[in-house]
Amino acid sequence: MALNMIVCVKQIPDPEAPPATFKIDSNTNKVVPPQGIEPVISPFDAQAVEAALRLKDVHGGKVTVISMGPASAKDAVKHALAMGGDEGVLLEDEAFGDSDSYVTAYILAQAIKKIGEYDIIFCGRQAADWDAGQVGLGIAEILGIPSVTVAQKVEMMDGKVEVERVVENGYEVVEAGLPVLVTITNELGEPRYPTLKGIMAAARKQLTLWQANDLGMGPDQMGLKGNLTQLRRLFVPAREGTCEVIEGENLAEAAVKLALRLRETKVI
């Protein structure tokens, strides 16, 4: 059975950029985008795209990629299309800015309702900027569909999904009917690289652009006005710490000194 799949992807500042490049503007409580480091598709979201494409490889179907964000977020959508996604939707409106998890889930759910047909919706386990891990479950709740989170494997079995959900001491295999929302974790494995052919095809694709009024969202439902949580302060924690670097004639001697130092300080 061909599957109708939707993947939600967010564009974020590169989470693996060197910590020294990380800066906050304390007047606006916002991160200052680092010079020369391009924003990326959130890594778990690239894996969510991968999860959808693996199912498409086996069962066929359609993968629609959707992102809410500034104009630059089209690059995250295009990346997913270059990986093999079929259609892209960009939700861009100034009024969407500063939305919290609650409002973001509403906006995405409205867009998904407008798309209409879906068997499986994929999200990342958490967006690697705010690491909230809320939006996927929120979308499922708003749409009234079941959810399975932190999945490392998703398969179809007799018209249902079988999902390996990672837990503290291993994983459990969870079965759910369609439609369903699944959130993906890095244990799924590396997302595929876009091929040259994929990149060219994605470049030609026209994204669907929707704004607040296309989604029937009123001004009080979005951004700071609609948020249920309020940010009071964003700051870089103070890091103290002086490292005692242990040296020696050679590394073996340093190792001996380290062991003795740990004994001396009663650490071992």
Partner: protein
Amino acid sequence: MSAYRSVMLFGEIANSSLASITRELLGAGRKLANDLGEELFIVFLGNGIGNIGSEAIALGADKVYVVDDPLLGDYRTDPYVTVMEKLTKEAVPQILLLGQTAIGRDLAPRLAFRLGTGLSTDCVELSIDPESKLLMQVRPVYGGNALAAMVCEKARPQMATIRPKAMAPAVKNDSHHGEVVSVPAGLDSSQIRTRILRKVKQEAEGIKLEDAEVVVCGGRGIGSAENFKSLEELARILGGAVGATRAASDSGWVPATIQIGLTGKIVTPNLYLAVGLSGSSQHMAGCSGSKTIVAINKDPEAPIFKAAHFGIVGDYKQVVPTLTEKCRELMAK
């Protein structure tokens, strides 16, 4: 908002006793309840829960809700959200706290959306703002590069999940009194839309990583599954356990269950030996609470040296064998 009373906790059970996260929830919750002059409630859901009420009361709970039902045996989203929605609507707490655990990560967001309220996940600090009386929720963001202080002004309960090992556990006080209330689940199995087909355990042998007093953690620099064995030997001699960074577990050298960090396990041992890992903020989220951090890394500029107390700059292959031998000798004394 004045109709909202009490601080409520979602308790978890491990080996028929309170899970460590639950003691931490009780520690944090008791303080908040005292600051607000409110009662502290805790909820346990499960099948065949047994007598854990008195333990929770001795750790500060004023009221313990127990919901015991065969449909609550394994954690599943639908029945847990349904029961928690019902209990929350009855008890109308001002504040509802859960652990940032496998269960809490799944339950808390869906419950918050069901209740129409705001949630901050993975908080490391909770307090009552003296002026507004709102719950101030501090959580790491941007992989731990920053902290965000959040409040929930407009909706109730104010919801948060707490990061394991970030808050002090409650201290036992046998003279504290409280009551245990049994509540029927009132579930209908047709409302449960998922089924657990099987569970697969992938636990490492030996001391549990989360409980170990010494953790030897290897990163990408270790290079192979084979090389990880040298860390096992060092961990064994020190009576500890081996952990890994995501780079190491994603490479397939070790199982994902020993990954330490933001999306892995949180450890706070006496001694954390960081070998061949750079010290990314997402990794440090899982180990920065360790008492003593020792770094072995060939790159003197690696961020791990900013977090470490002791360090050796060099190839771990030339350090670990001698370190292991010397530790063996010292531990025998």
